[in-house]
Point group: C2
Chain length 342, copies 2
């Protein structure tokens, strides 16, 4: 454990805003002196950094869930971090916590915000960034509060080998629903079906994908957990049953859009479908349902302990590789939850 | 009271399916012998026929809420009807009931479906087709189950002089919310503001309508009760607050659409707004919330008795004028709830 506070901090800042797909030029790596914690604060050494699709939204100037990262600011991100200096009661050097440490080797945090201590003896630390953390909770909360899968219903989710999609399908099956997963490429497709146990798994790159989806959903679709948008949504829409629910937690296919696509304008058609099929379409982020978080930690912890929920991680070594890893993630090049090991 | 069962029945049937806007040619008036009630049935004389925007959907072959009216079949519709012959215990000639008697002078009904007897001494019979019936319940249920207006929030509704819109705004105000109504023309606009007591009322035909709406909603829009679609929705969308709710019960602006409008395609934009603003968009018809109906009858009955909810009716004399009245209704030519007096 490196507790020498004279070494500099390394960080990655937003150098410029992307036009369409982000490129390496949008990021800049910097060094800075290590800061000292003030009263009530701690100094953290970040051990693992989570990379997630929402980060693309933070790189834009426009309104999204949250204020954007400003040019020159450290990129945001969840971390598993070790306390290396503390001026906060209840936090000691050596404590490992879930933090929002960002794309950097060290961070200052308000001690009162660090409410979750982690123990590698109970679960791998990285799960707090994935299946037992924000992406897992996104799946759990979206199904619990919006999707509400019932026994025998059909639940469809894309990016099904990723941390949200994989968890959505497995929770749906624990509720007695049928899970149909969509992934990019044969390796991911096979993993979703054979390892995660989805009832069906499809490759959205197949030329007859829409037909395959129809065949895989003979009783229509009751819950579509929307995390990608684009062509997958277009294939899902005609298959939705009356009273279908669509939790919308991401639209990664559109994050790089620079203009509206050409017509015709399908907005009135979507509203008509919502009306005549009694659809519920609801956007959310997991924070909207934060009161459910303790229940999630308990229930998901149980499922993980019993082996009822599986997960896969895609570990990237070194902070300097984070930009390329995020760019790849937005193109679906990762296979499982992307975590940068610092 | 005419109980002579030898007079023929007059009815209006669907003669052909409309291409775009319905025309008089799509309807045909016919006479037929009076039917006799079978066991458990009653013969009804229809006193009042309700005309409602949903009827446009029934004229199409395509899927909507319910199966379409077939060519040659009597047009559907809710009625206030008098029992003139009964083979059902508990229903006597002279009883006045809420029925689904259709566009005709007489109808056969299963007695068990006639669960609501009406008493002109308690409330005008026609209210059972409007504010104290299906349109009023649409407003009540959509707000109760989806819109959930909170004190101080802003609720926007179009067709605000019509039976759904007028009721939405007045109920919103009873919940302590601010009601902004949209109507077509100065007479309706003044009625919505001055008679119904909305906080603001706008004419959607004004060239600067979108600017007027922005001015009328300085704190944004929390609930948009969607019953029209089209240009009103386009003006509402940029003003929606985070966590806004959009109950969708009608899209009258689109009922005559024959093709998708030209581009660009705003479907991905709508989904992005749903995501980043945490919107809830939910299609419904009042039947979805039927368990709430007794509570509605009780509560709305109280409000009407206390003068807390006002309404306006647009009475059309004679069944033969129903086609023109429906065509006018779809163009916003009515002023209040359209009821045909037979």
């Amino acid at each position: 454990m490196n507790t020498d506070t004279t070494v500099p901090l390394t960080r990655i800042v937003l150098a410029s805003r992307p036009q369409g797909e982000p490129t390496a030029d949008n990021f800049r790596i910097e060094q800075a002196p290590l800061p000292s914690p003030g009263e009530g604060q701690v100094l953290l050494r970040n051990l693992y950094l989570s990379l997630d699709p929402y980060m693309r939204g933070r790189m834009n100037a426009g309104r999204s869930y949250a204020r954007p990262v400003e040019i020159g600011e450290v990129m945001e991100g969840g971390t598993v971090s070790e306390v290396i200096a503390s001026r906060c009661d209840g936090l000691q050097p050596g404590d490992v916590v879930l933090a929002h440490g960002g794309w950097q080797t060290h961070a200052i945090a308000e001690g009162r915000t660090l409410t979750r201590k982690l123990d590698a003896g109970i679960a791998p630390l990285t799960t707090a960034l994935g299946v037992h953390g924000m992406p897992g909770f996104t799946a759990y909360a979206g199904l619990h509060e919006i999707g509400k899968p019932q026994p025998g219903e059909t639940v469809v989710v894309a990016a099904a080998s990723g941390p949200v999609g994989a968890t959505v399908g497995q929770i749906a099956r624990l509720h007695g629903a049928r899970a149909v997963g969509i992934a990019g490429g044969e390796a991911k497709r096979a993993y979703v079906r054979d390892e995660l146990g989805f009832d069906a798994a499809l490759d959205h790159r197949a030329p007859d994908f829409a037909d395959q989806l129809r065949t895989a959903c003979p009783n229509g679709i009751d819950v579509y957990f929307e995390n990608v948008g684009g062509a997958v949504f277009d294939a899902v829409l005609p298959l939705l049953n009356d009273f279908a629910r669509i939790p919308v937690c991401g639209l990664v296919a559109h994050y790089n859009d620079r203009a509206l696509p050409p017509g015709p304008d399908r907005l009135p058609m979507l509203m008509s479908q919502i009306l005549t099929r009694h659809l519920t379409v609801r956007g959310f982020i997991q924070r909207d349902f934060i009161s459910l978080y303790p229940q999630f930690l308990r229930e998901m912890g149980g499922w993980l302990g019993e082996g009822k929920i599986k997960y896969r991680e895609d570990i990237v070594e070194g902070l300097e590789n984070a930009p390329a890893a995020l760019i790849g993630l937005l193109k679906g090049r990762n296979f499982g939850k992307v975590v940068v090991k610092l």
